[in-house]
């Protein structure tokens, strides 16, 4: 029973009751070729008719979108780090890294972000300190005019369409469902805005649209997929950073890509979400990253909350028995 308790044990579509589903489809987002053009964000908004989510300058490099949410189903992250990219020598004049440079700027940004999403900006985004040269002298900047190293990481984030999707497991109305393609979609005519899925998602993807009450997130363009079309973001991506296809094929392609990047000297390249044995059973949308996941705002080792639900139910039952026994004992033990 406990295996069936979790939606989608191995292969989500057949486990959700599709006898002969098509191949599981997904995204491979190769952030190493992302150029930060945000075509995916725009295409997604246009195709899915998503309302705007405010026009704010956030002071987070070129990221003025902020994060995924009810009105942002693709989000391009920008991270500036003073370290070289592979073997490239891409010196750029003292680009600011990390926090907003000036106090008024930081204040404005904090106001724009709102407190509940963590307004204390300026956490280390991963800049490294240069160690002294082997001859003991401090390392000089790359060029004599004071320029220094810079690499600019860009990554287009999206709903992960988890194999074990917490949002889907906890939804009490059945509004969230598993499609025949193995993706996870909200039925907007069912959702009653209970909000349970919002804190359940280990990636912070799904969110409530305030003036509407319901929750919204990426559908992997269910409407387009059903017609054999690729999702709008993948279609728009000019560098094929966003690749759409059958998941097993994407995983194989990604493994090739990582190997090639390692050969090219990009030792940090790694896949995120491609491992079917991770805490969410592997994700339908996975990523090639050039630094640790938390640098991009991803959780380093997400686990679907319902993995621990059998234990929670057990303790709930024991606790209920204990409550009943205490009440009984109170009557037995009380003298008039």
């Amino acid at each position: 029973m406990t295996e069936k308790l979790l939606e989608g044990t191995k292969d989500p579509a057949p486990d959700s009751g599709y006898p002969q589903p098509p191949r599981r489809m997904g995204f491979f987002t190769d952030t190493s070729v992302c150029i930060g053009c945000k075509a995916c964000e725009v295409a997604c908004k246009e195709w899915n008719l998503i309302p705007d989510d405010g026009f704010s300058l956030l002071g987070m490099s070129y990221d003025n979108t902020g994060m995924l949410g009810a009105d942002t189903w693709r989000h391009v992250a920008f991270i500036e780090q003073d370290r070289p990219l592979g073997r490239q020598n891409n010196a750029v004049a003292l680009m600011p890294t990390g926090p907003s440079a000036s106090a008024p700027n930081a204040l404005m940004v904090a106001a724009g972000l709102g407190e509940e999403h963590g307004a204390r900006l300026g956490t280390e985004t991963g800049a490294i300190q240069l160690e002294p040269n082997t001859d003991g002298k401090p390392r000089q900047p790359v060029s004599a005019d004071g320029r220094t190293e810079l690499r600019w990481l860009m990554a287009s984030d999206v709903c992960k369409h988890c194999t074990h999707a917490a949002c889907l497991d906890v939804c009490p109305t059945g509004s969230l469902f598993r499609t025949e393609f193995g993706t996870v979609v909200v039925q907007e005519d069912i959702c009653n805005g209970c909000g349970y899925c919002v804190p359940a998602c280990p990636y912070g993807v799904i969110d409530q649209r305030k003036d509407d009450g319901r929750v919204w997130k990426c559908t992997l363009c269910y409407d387009r997929m059903s017609d054999g079309q690729e999702p709008a973001c993948a279609k728009a991506c000019p560098t094929e950073s966003i690749q759409y296809g059958p998941l097993d094929e994407l995983r194989e392609r990604a493994a090739h890509r990582v190997a090639r990047l390692h050969d090219a000297g990009v030792a940090d390249a790694r896949l995120y979400g491609a491992d079917p044995d991770d805490g969410v059973g592997g994700t339908g949308a996975f990523f090639l990253l050039l630094d640790k996941p938390e640098v991009y705002g991803f959780p380093p080792d997400p686990v679907v909350t319902t993995r621990d639900l059998p234990a929670m139910w057990r303790h709930t039952l024991f606790a209920a028995v204990a409550v009943a026994a205490t009440a009984l004992a109170a009557f037995a033990g009380a003298r008039r």
Partner: protein, 347 residues
Amino acid sequence: MSAAQETGSEVRRDGLHHVAPGREALIGSRGGRRPSRGGEVVPPAEFRSYYGRAVIKPPVWKAHNIAGYLFLGGVAGGAALLAAGADLTGRPGMRRAARLISASATGLSLSVLTRDLGRPERAVHMLRVVKPTSPMSIGTWLLGGFSPLVAVAALGEMSAALPRRAADLVGLLARPSGLAATAVAPAITTYTGALIANTAVPVWHESHRELPYLFGASALAAAGGLVTATTPAREAAPARLAGIVGSVAAQVFDRAIHRRLGMVAEPLTGGRPGRLLRASRWCARAGTALLAASAMRHSRALDVAGGLALAAESALTKFGYFHAGTASAADPKYTVLPQRERAEAAQ
């Protein structure tokens, strides 16, 4: 449609075929400088995050609704147990008080739960499915069974205000309904622990083993307290005892959570949640002392003061845990650090 038609490329045993050239651009491959030898990466002592932003989304629930429900649901379940006990042991004053408290707390619970929905008019959509993977779904069904039973039991106490026919019927049904409600009442007090633990919120999820016990004990404290405060002193002994035991047990589980969570317990001690939980501890001390004194002297005044203190303790605990969860979700530290440790331990 084959994969090759869908995507324009395919993966064969010997590698990729028909791949668009742009797809294989290798970053950094044009650069002249070789990477220098020697470890230049100094591992950062602190955790890293994306501009300090939260990784998960904090709950959108309103504290006065959902933390309020955590408290009210406990009162409803605990008082239903006390009402049944009072009924069976011949304590009419306590039965009346407990039944009325239980039914009003249930009514208020249903109202705040509905009000917190983004689309309250769709509340009935909860009844489309029964999902053991969703404590909210199971809780809806528990409440669905519980509410009419405690409502009928409470009507039994108001038969004077009812027309004759209805009063007779209610008089017949009140006791069986009240007793039947005890089948679900204990679960009503504890499932709320699983409800909030079954999320990615660090403080809530990490304490998933203790929360059902904490909430159950806290429910007994609140129900015991409120029933004591509204019952004639000579009948109130069981309610006092339940309140005291519940309060002591709640404090024990609260400590246990603080100990086991380690660094993730920080939001429970700082800021608003810290203040709420400290106040809750003072209420617990005052309430148990007052009720213990009243157990010897049978004083109505002590009962009222002590009972209200225990109810306040329970409410403060629930609000404290609610706000601590929200705070732990808003700070990436509590999501990233434990996961990073776990990931590194696994390697």
